[in-house]
């Protein structure tokens, strides 16, 4: 059995989540929009899950809008705020996920001013620059991730919120990686809109949510049907929604235990990495997620190292799965001022609740072998 060390790409579905989904996969459940009894049983399942997901953030159930995943939620947030509105400025963090970057950049075509938010070498907001940026003119929306998918660096979104709000803008927070890994509060995050993904917290793939405050003037991205308060047409993905709800509830209940477990593995890994002469760790000066470590091994290309590790049975990543295979250095590391050669060597390890200390030991000894071989 290979060691799966890529939980920021996706997580296995918790068996208890599958258990919760099964009745909705096999049972006589209808279309949640149908008025008959089957339809209403389906609707009950959808609404229970909405409350569970809301509870993870201390949000209101009616603030939760289902989407097909984090990518759609990010697209809905940015385009839904901008399309059809008078053009203004859109800001996004330089280390955002491609779903935020590309959604924001697509707005240029419609005449929007799209700007990156500059980050320090630790991956954190440069407050002096950001303050000026927010004051340079009215902002429609700024988008920042709560925790970075590659480095695990945690952003102070609440502090950013006050600047964005002072500039008249809405703050969108992509909490795809933070949810289930950090204590997270919708109001505490300062976000007006917040993205969640189910499959990063042991729920099924194909479902996510955008949590939106009632006062945000958001338009739909998918037209058709009055589902989700008119913000998202389409028949609800009932089993996945129920699974997401169950996963969110478990994430809340087990947050402390899961965090302690991966933190111990992270410490074990990083002690081992520090002991190796040719290793650079990224983002270590900032607060990071307890499960994520990104590093480079001198003399190794990340893709090549990945392939060797894969053959030895270790599934890790060079960065975002959504950009894998492109051969390009990580845009996240480049934005943090890492040089292209070092960035191309980057490997990301992301632990999950099923990983063991033995797996870390094995992984480290495999790395030591490679480090010895050189490129």
């Amino acid at each position: 059995m290979p060691a799966y060390l890529d939980h920021n790409a996706t997580t296995p579905v918790d068996p208890r989540v599958v258990e919760a989904m099964l009745p909705y996969l096999t049972g006589p459940y209808g279309n949640p929009s149908s008025l008959h009894r089957f339809g209403r049983a389906a609707r009950d399942g959808v609404e229970r899950a909405r409350a569970q997901v809301a509870a993870l953030l201390g949000a209101q159930p009616q603030e939760v809008v289902w989407t097909s995943g984090g990518t759609e939620a990010n697209n809905l947030a940015l385009k839904g705020l901008c399309i059809g509105k008078p053009q203004g400025r859109v800001l996004y963090g330089a280390t955002e996920h491609p779903a935020v970057m590309e959604a924001a950049e697509s707005l240029k075509r419609d005449g929007w001013g799209v700007e990156k938010i500059v980050l320090t070498c630790d991956g954190l907001i440069d407050w002096t620059v950001f303050t000026d940026q927010c004051q340079a003119g009215p902002v429609r929306v700024a988008s920042l991730m709560a925790a970075n998918n590659e480095t695990g660096v945690i952003q102070d979104t609440a502090r950013a919120a006050s600047l964005v709000h002072a500039g008249g803008g809405w703050l969108h927070v992509d909490a795809t990686q933070a949810a289930g890994k950090l204590p997270l509060s919708f109001t505490g995050s300062g976000a007006d809109l917040l993205t969640l993904s189910s499959h990063k917290l042991y729920g099924p793939k194909g479902i996510g949510a955008l949590v939106v405050k009632a006062e945000v003037d958001l338009g739909p991205l998918l037209h058709g049907g009055a589902q989700e308060r008119g913000l998202r047409g389409g028949t609800e993905n009932l089993p996945a929604i129920v699974g997401f709800g169950a996963a969110a509830e478990l994430a809340m209940l087990e947050l402390e235990g899961r965090t302690a477990h991966v933190l111990a593995l992270q410490q074990q890994l990083e002690v081992g990495l520090h002991a190796m002469p040719a290793v650079t760790l990224f983002g270590t000066q900032a607060k990071r997620l307890a499960n994520t470590t990104q590093f480079a091994l001198a003399g190794w290309d990340g893709e090549a190292l990945l392939m060797h590790l894969d053959r030895k049975g270790y599934a890790v990543s060079s960065g975002s799965a959504c950009a894998s295979g492109s051969g390009e250095p990580s845009h996240v590391l480049l934005a943090m001022g890492v040089d292209a050669t070092t960035a191309k060597g980057a490997v990301r390890v992301s632990f999950g609740k099923g990983n063991t200390a033995d797996e870390v030991t094995g992984f480290l000894s495999a790395l030591v072998d490679f480090a010895g071989q050189g490129r």
Binding site: V18, N237, G313
Partner: protein, 516 residues
Amino acid sequence: MIYLDYAATTPLAPEALAAMQPYLADVFANPASDHGPGRKAKKAVEGARAQVASLIGASAEEIIWTSGATEANNLAIKGVLEFRGLDNAHIVTSKTEHKCVLDTCRHLESQHGARGLRVTYLKPGADGCVTAQQVIDALTPQTVLVSLMWVSNELGTINEVEKLAPLLRERGVLFHVDAVQAAGKLVIDLATTPIDLLSLSAHKIYGPKGIGALFVRKRPRARVAPQLHGGGHEQGMRSGTLAPHQCVGMGAAFALAATRLVDDAAYIAALRDRLWMRLQALPRVHRNGTGAVAPHVLNVSFEGVEGEALRAMLPTLAVSSGSACSSATAEPSYVLRALGRSDALANASLRFSLGRATTEAQIDTAAQAVIDAVLWLRDISGETSTAAAAPVSDNAFDYPAPVWAQFVEASSNSGEFAPGTPGVQTVRVENRASASWLALHLRMRAGQVMEARFTAFGCPVGIAVGHWLAVQAVGKSAAELRTLSTAELRRTLEIPDDKLHCALMGEDALKSIVIQ
């Protein structure tokens, strides 16, 4: 409960569930990840893609996964228009398309109307079908896209897409077809039918919810601008992590449909015909959509009954009164109105949609339940006096308990007095907005009500009000009855705010009683 709503959604085929389960367990990696587990997930996704392609005569690389047909329709229409340019562009579609196509077109009009973007919404013929000639006649030099459904979700009618496709190809107009209700029911061969874009859904053909696909033709290449950005999945046309369990579920469902299509269609069409034959035992029923029809849908309008009351009386039938996506809004079906049905008749319509698990016994039970309900309601309105037994039914739609208690008893004092009965005073009031009415028939002597009956056409609340007033009226004088307030009526029957008009009708009826 008899499920006759397969056009809204279908149960998951056991074969599809079995295919999905490994991907909810051990094989969980992200198919975009470049490691062993990721490649294994990707292989499954690609196998499923080929299965989907195979049912419609396409090649695998022409299938773009989406979160469902709504997204596929949005991607096709907005994607083509954005790619081709929105200025002065013209789209031809029909008034009977699924709501998501209509909403997308209306959105484009409202956003880009100032730039000359126009949409033509064709009205189907009385048979429910849109003909190829209608579409051709509507084309202009600016037409870039025709979007037409293959099979109507509400009527089951088949549009002339196969005849139309080559005509549009000759004219260089892109053709998008919403085939959600056609896939698995009719033979679709895109190798010989020059459709450019075609939308598919899994959960309408025994696959999982939350997944669909858009066929995008490679040769000649149809181009769409992506609607979801980020990561460049699906050849850049649709970003987002794929859900392998859903992809393989859809693949398995499509593979199964390929083997079962002919037998399923014959079996289901025979049951559908049986249902229609049985329902015709009732006078004044109308089938909606009389042209070429797919095997699984039967849409019928019932004269002389109100739609909400009819549905309330059929708690054991899962049927739809239109598309599930618009039934939440409780407006009469826009599709039936487009066919020229009146609001009242459109409202008193049921869509039965049948599937693999439907049986003859279910059809016979369902037909009888509908017949009993219609006869009973026609008795209540005084149209007939068949003395139909009150079909005992449960309060499935959660009307207030006092309303429901009055409603199920309503036939005990409904109907008019025999013509020529002395001393009868009838008061009749109506509510135009809800097209309902209430009449009290009071047999009076010396200013006192000796006997009271009522007739009504309307929802269960209106009927409950009629019954309750007729019971209350006995022994009272006209003057006493006129003092009965709306507030008291509402309190006693616990009438909710959205049914206030029913209480007002009751009060108006009482106020109309003439003191003699």
